[in-house]
């Protein structure tokens, strides 16, 4: 059973990671063959998020009216569901896209080329793949995996609910390779978004909206049609996933053919208008990666020479060693303070659980501040000081400049967590007994990833800020928003703050007070929060893409 769960974890983990990274890889590929700016990936992501701000409440409202399945009407005919859900998706997403193009045409007419439309489509479909694919798959699978083989009787479920849950678990365990289907579906969806993006783009180019306006309703109808077919076809091809995905592709074939024709037309016109750029050689990916490694090396040396690694390492070591010591000493501290002696008896005998709680509390309270303070000047400082123009007039890609800084900081925090982890491990073992190694490792990994989300946000703030001070301000505001996001009703658990609760569970397991999946679920908590982990990775990826996107547009 454990072997099967491990296999499923690896395969679904890989699938989730690919759903997050493939859009970025595709965009990077597009960048290699064209000059579409990275910022358009961010703008495409923005149009998706904005469309969902309208789309989700709209669907909820329609459900409240009984037009879509929900609490008011559970048995809505599938044709009606498919039709309405398809239309709302098409309307919201294509109109948001059209709004994006209208703004672009006004503010950046140079970004109305075909490659820009493809980048916008990749951004729109990419973030959808990351959130609806990566985060939701991770959240669902991670909450189901610990229940495989568990006795579902203790959950207090109705017989129907228990049957449904069991069916889901059986389906999950039936074939590990099913993990590839969500990824395949997302890849097809991304390609669909590129086609839709090109259709809406077409409305704004050439003779312009006056003559080409019909491409917008066409895109809405095509989008709605594809979604309709997907929802409607699901009932017939429920058990034949591959066939279902292929029929999805079949619906898109006319769009692919039309898009290929548009690409051919655009390439021809560019070659005619600009034969010089068309033949200019481009740098190889190997060369860019070599420069990225150079940038990482320089950043690491800088962190060492400016003593940041030493100071941060010392702080982490103090947190690591100090946490079990404080946990052990608290009753004695109470006893030693005059007038507080009576409270000492109320405090339970400290244990490894208290040491772990203290460890988590210390690192989570100060970690984000450290991350922001150390990263706030990383880009802004070099712009302010004037070194950035010197370096960026050399063949240093701007992405390598940003990614080098994030990577070096990640390596620094990894080293710091090794120090703090070793310190806490040593003193907890001495004072309270040994910790469970795998769970303890998980605690530190989760804390590290949680902290890296703040580093990524601080790097974004540092890119946006003109000075180190303004960069710090932006970094702190973004960090506070991120922390508050954990309190959003229903969805808060899917944000990176959810990692702390998971790390808390793992810390208790490490300290020998393991909770079961069932008891955790009954307590209303998540035993393994893959959704939060995936959303942290998404946030890091998007923050870095936005950093590179904005940085590419900045004059130095």
């Amino acid at each position: 059973m454990e072997g099967q769960t491990g296999m499923l974890t690896i395969l679904y983990g890989a699938s989730v990671l690919l759903m997050i990274l493939v859009p970025v890889i595709l965009a990077a590929g597009l960048r290699r063959i064209s000059s579409a700016p990275w910022l358009l990936f961010g703008i495409g992501s923005g149009t998706f998020v904005l469309s969902q701000v309208v789309h989700l409440p709209l669907n909820q409202w329609l459900a409240d009216l009984g037009l879509l399945p929900g609490t008011v009407a559970a048995d809505v005919p599938i044709v009606q569901t498919a039709l309405i859900a398809g239309l709302t998706a098409g309307l919201c997403e294509e109109l948001a896209r059209a709004g994006g193009y209208a703004l672009l045409r006004k503010l950046r007419p140079a970004w109305m080329r075909l490659q820009d439309a493809v980048m916008l489509g990749l951004g729109h479909g990419g973030i959808e793949s990351m959130i609806f694919g990566g985060v939701l798959t991770a959240a669902t699978v991670s909450s189901l995996l610990p229940l495989i083989g568990a006795d579902l009787g203790g959950f207090g479920l109705t017989p129907d609910q228990r049957t449904n849950l069991q069916a889901q678990l059986d389906s999950l365990a039936a074939n590990p390779w099913n993990s590839a289907y969500p990824l395949l579906e997302r890849l097809i969806a991304i390609s669909a978004h590129v086609v839709f993006s090109l259709m809406v783009w077409k409305a704004f180019t050439g003779a312009g909206l006056r003559r080409n306006w019909f491409y917008i309703p066409l895109a809405i109808l095509y989008h709605a049609g594809v979604d309709f077919a997907a929802v409607y076809g699901m009932q017939y091809l429920k058990d034949q996933t591959l066939l279902f995905e292929l029929s999805f592709v079949g619906m898109l074939v006319p769009g692919y053919v039309w898009a290929a024709y548009q690409i051919r037309l655009a390439r021809k016109s560019v070659a005619l208008a600009d034969p010089i750029s068309d033949t200019a050689p481009q740098s190889s990916i190997r060369s860019e990666l070599a420069v990225y490694r150079t940038a990482v090396g320089k950043e690491l040396v800088q962190l060492w020479r400016t003593k940041r690694i030493l100071v941060t390492g010392a702080v982490f070591l103090v947190f690591g060693m100090g946490s079990p010591l404080i946990a052990k000493a608290i009753p004695d501290i109470f006893k030693s303070v005059e007038g507080m002696e009576q409270f000492a008896a109320l405090i339970p005998v400290p244990s490894a659980v208290d040491a772990m709680d203290q460890y988590l509390k210390n690192l989570s309270q100060f970690g984000f501040l450290l991350a922001v303070l150390l990263a706030m000047g990383t880009v802004a400082g070099e712009k302010e000081h004037g070194v950035a123009p010197m370096i960026l007039s050399k063949p240093m890609p701007r992405w390598a400049f940003i990614a080098g800084k994030f990577t070096a900081q990640s390596v620094m925090y990894l080293a710091c967590f090794v120090l703090s982890g070793a310190g806490a491990w040593y003193y907890t073992s001495i004072l309270f007994g040994p910790l469970e190694p795998a769970a303890y490792l998980l605690v530190n990994v989760l804390l590290l990833i949680w902290m890296l989300t703040f580093v990524a946000l601080a790097v974004l703030g540092s890119t946006l800020g003109k000075t180190t001070v303004s960069a710090g301000g932006i970094g702190i505001i973004l960090s506070v928003i991120l922390m508050l996001s954990g309190s959003i009703p229903r969805f808060g658990i899917l944000f990176p703050q959810g990692l702390l609760a998971w790390a808390g569970q793992a810390a208790h397991t490490a300290a020998g007070q393991a909770a079961s999946a069932v008891s955790t679920a009954l307590a209303g908590q998540v035993f393994v929060n893959g959704g939060a982990l995936a959303s942290a990775v998404v946030l890091i990826v998007i923050s870095l893409i936005l950093s590179v996107g904005f940085f590419e547009q900045q004059e130095l």
């Binding site: 750029s277 150079t294 800088q302 010197m390 007039s393 063949p395």
Partner: protein
């Protein structure tokens, strides 16, 4: 000290190229708009390969904007630019290995030594370790920073920073150097060192050198362009430009032993000159007096008798052509 500095060597500028492939630097309709301000207005320029090209203009003329556009650090509102045949306004990374760039105020990582900084730049250019070591040694020697190569850059003087700036621009042996006002913030000794260095590194390499200091341009450049309020006023060989202007000025150097400066005779002489109809202007700088004349034969006939009449002791009396400064002021006014 002379009001009319001479270049160490007379150089004939190469013929003007007519395409991005043949020019060292080629700009077509290069423009930059900052809000309401048009910092650069349709610059069309072709810099010949191998030239030392002066880019002249007053403060705010658009020189630095042009440099930043060429270096890919700013983005044009319109137009394009190429260096050594590769477009630098298209964000193509490879184009950035075709030139070395020195900004007006070069800044470095203060925690690095000069050698480390040059090594970092060499690594970015993906130069092999052996070639990198060799180039760094040569450049430290050339820039006179060999002794200071293991000192932290944070403690360098302004002149040392400029020389390190030129050295870093030369890493990778780029065919074109973009130097943005490399001497403007330096004291006379620093200026001398940097100009000497520029003279030494020119040759087969193209040096595009912006400045508002005309003496520097006249001293090291063979060609020049004059930019004024974002517009290109003129492109010419330095010698050809000077040759267009007749010899219509005379330079006098008073002998300090004569005591004219103290006695007021020099002041009386300049006052008398200003009243003469054939005198266009009079400029004094210490013991040097420069007289621009409207009518050269009248000047040649009248000036010496006036000197004799006032009993001035003169070390030097020389008819000269106008300096670039005179021409530039005339053009940009």
């Amino acid at each position: 000290m002379s009001l009319s500095p001479r270049r160490t060597e007379n150089r004939t500028p190469p013929a003007a190229p007519d395409s991005p492939e043949t020019a060292a630097i080629f700009c077509r309709g290069l423009s930059k708009q900052y809000g309401e301000v048009r910092a650069l207005d349709g610059l069309d320029l072709a810099v010949p390969r191998g030239s030392v090209f002066g880019f002249l203009g007053r403060n705010g003329a658009g020189k630095t904007t042009t440099m930043r556009l060429l270096a890919g650090l700013a983005f044009p509102s319109a137009g394009r630019a190429w260096i050594d045949g590769m477009e630098t306004t298209s964000a193509n990374r490879l184009a950035r290995s075709r030139f070395g760039y020195l900004p007006q105020s070069p800044a470095f990582y203060n925690w690095m030594t000069a050698r480390e900084y040059l090594d970092y730049v060499g690594r970015i250019q993906e130069i092999s370790p052996d070639a990198r070591r060799r180039q760094i040694d040569e450049l430290l020697e050339l820039s006179g920073l060999k002794e200071a190569s293991r000192r932290k850059v944070g403690g360098f003087s302004g002149g040392m920073l400029q020389r390190l700036g030129i050295a870093q621009a030369l890493i990778g042996n780029p065919p074109v150097l973009l130097l943005d006002e490399p001497t403007s913030s330096l004291d006379p000794a620093g200026r001398y060192e940097v100009l000497e260095m520029i003279t030494r590194i020119s040759g087969s390499r193209t040096v595009f050198f912006s400045s508002h200091i005309l003496n520097d341009i006249e001293r090291v450049c063979d060609s020049l362009a004059v930019l004024h309020k974002g517009r290109l006023l003129l492109v010419s060989g330095v010698e050809a430009l000077l040759a267009q202007y007749p010899v219509d000025a005379v330079e006098l150097e008073l002998d300090p032993a004569g005591g004219e400066m103290e006695s007021g005779a020099a002041a009386a002489f300049t006052a008398a000159l200003r009243d003469i109809p054939w005198v266009a202007s009079v400029k004094t700088e210490g013991r040097l007096i420069r007289v621009m004349v409207k009518n050269v034969p009248d000047g040649k006939r009248g000036l010496l008798p006036l000197i004799a009449k006032l009993g001035l002791t003169v070390n030097r009396y020389e008819w000269i052509r106008p300096s670039l400064e005179d021409i530039f002021l005339q053009m940009s006014s």
